[in-house]
Amino acid sequence: MQLYLPIAEVAVNAYALIGIGGLVGFLSGLFGVGGGFLITPLLFMIGVPPGVAVATGANQVVASSISGVLAQLKRKAVDFRMGAVLLAGGLIGSAIGIWVFARLTAIGQVDLFVQLAYVLFLGVVGAMMMQESLRALWRARRAGAAQIRRAHVHTWVHGMPLKMKFRASGLYISVIPPLAIGAFVGFLSAVMGVGGGFIMVPAMIYLLGMPTKVVIGTSLFQIIFTTAFTTVMHAVSSQSVDIMLALLLILGGVVGAQFGARFGVRLKAEQLRILLAGMVLLVCFKVALDLVLTPAELYSIAPMALP
């Protein structure tokens, strides 16, 4: 069924949109990532203009994150206190990011910067996660049950002042690292147009030492607010949120997120991390390929905003 989208100004297949929403929602519920880094390229592929894809993708992520958080809430797997601290940092970072984005747009190299950021961050995060979780899986298989289990590993992060108790995560750490991580992710999400879950999740696991089961819910909780902020910003500044497109993506997304959350319970933490790492590396590889390979069409056309 073809459907004409009022803001994107293209006719697209409605079922394809529900399918994309469902796929991204599933991954969102499974890994606790918003899925912004997947939905935007997928929307490009079916012909939605980039600006509309980024803005509307953010709106869809709001819905699937809410659906995901509510599912995680049932399992008491959301650390609200940690989420609030991350969010505080996130808003500061996001404000800086929006300013940098405007500067880059003025220079005309925003596309390149976004692509390079994708390759760099997805590559580093994906490779680190893959290596760590493979090693964990290997060790678990070798040592069997004789392994010493620790709640988390103490690192330099735990020696900072301004300590705060995060009961749901079982942590007593300084608020500076979560604030900094939140700010960094907020900055990236404003510049790259993503929720930032794929950076937030590993940062929470490896830098803060939070247990994997709390990480997903908390990340989703924080993503709701970041993407909600982004959606409204885009709607006001460039009128590029397509509510019709969002509705279809959301329909697929909320259902997919529920399935993802259910499916995630059956997987081991290591397996979950390997899967996420694999997906992150795949997207990284694709973006890198686009940068290096000779494009079929060297020229590109962009609409110019009317003065």
């Binding site: 004409y4 803001i7 509510l70 599912a71 509510i243 969002a246 069409e297 020229y299 590109s300 009317l306």
Partner: protein, 247 residues
Amino acid sequence: MKRLILALLLLLPLPGAAEEIVAGLSQSSVSITADYAGSEILIYGAVKREAPIAPGRGLRVIITVEGPRLPIVVRRKERSWGIWMNDDRLRPGPVPSFYAVASSAPLDVALLPEEDLRHAITLPRILRGEDNTAQPFLDAVERIGRAEGRYFVQENSIALTEETLFRTDVGLPSDLTEGNYTVRLFLTREGRVIDEVKRTIWVRKAGLERFLYEAAHQWPLLYGLASLMLAGLAGWGAAALFARLRW
């Protein structure tokens, strides 16, 4: 004898002999609604003349359909440090968002180059750069437009019956830009334009599409908050529904 001469005189193609186009469109407005998936416009007409059909040959019809002109930026990628990045750019001024040419004969037969220059009919003529540096960019605009189905040329697609009646179909794509579409009909003889007629097709969003578009542009903050509310309700609704299903 006098009558015969008179009759012969009438048959001769007179310079400036009145041959005019009378044209019609199957629809003069297109409403873009939610289920809009492209439409076919039937363009038809006749050649009106005072005198009987002149024996001279080479009567052709050319029809162009042009979408609203929009300002664009064209960028060219260059390889530096092993990476392809945007380098040069050109702002060619407003270019048609849609352009279709239909003709009753191959264009190089139906139209002389100097006539093309005067009336700007063919695609390369519409997208003509001021200098050699601009031309590759405008060629790219034509190439990309053709690849996306926004620009096309249908030679021999107009059926011209008895040098009098003609008709053709022009397909408008589904990703249509709002605005006025200009239809130009040219009557040529031996490649020279002898008559030109203009018609307009109004392309407008309608119904829900219109409402959402207006809302997004006139009350952007409200629209953004409404989008958020939709997202929130859907997210909560799905969670509640699945919790009730308890599977």
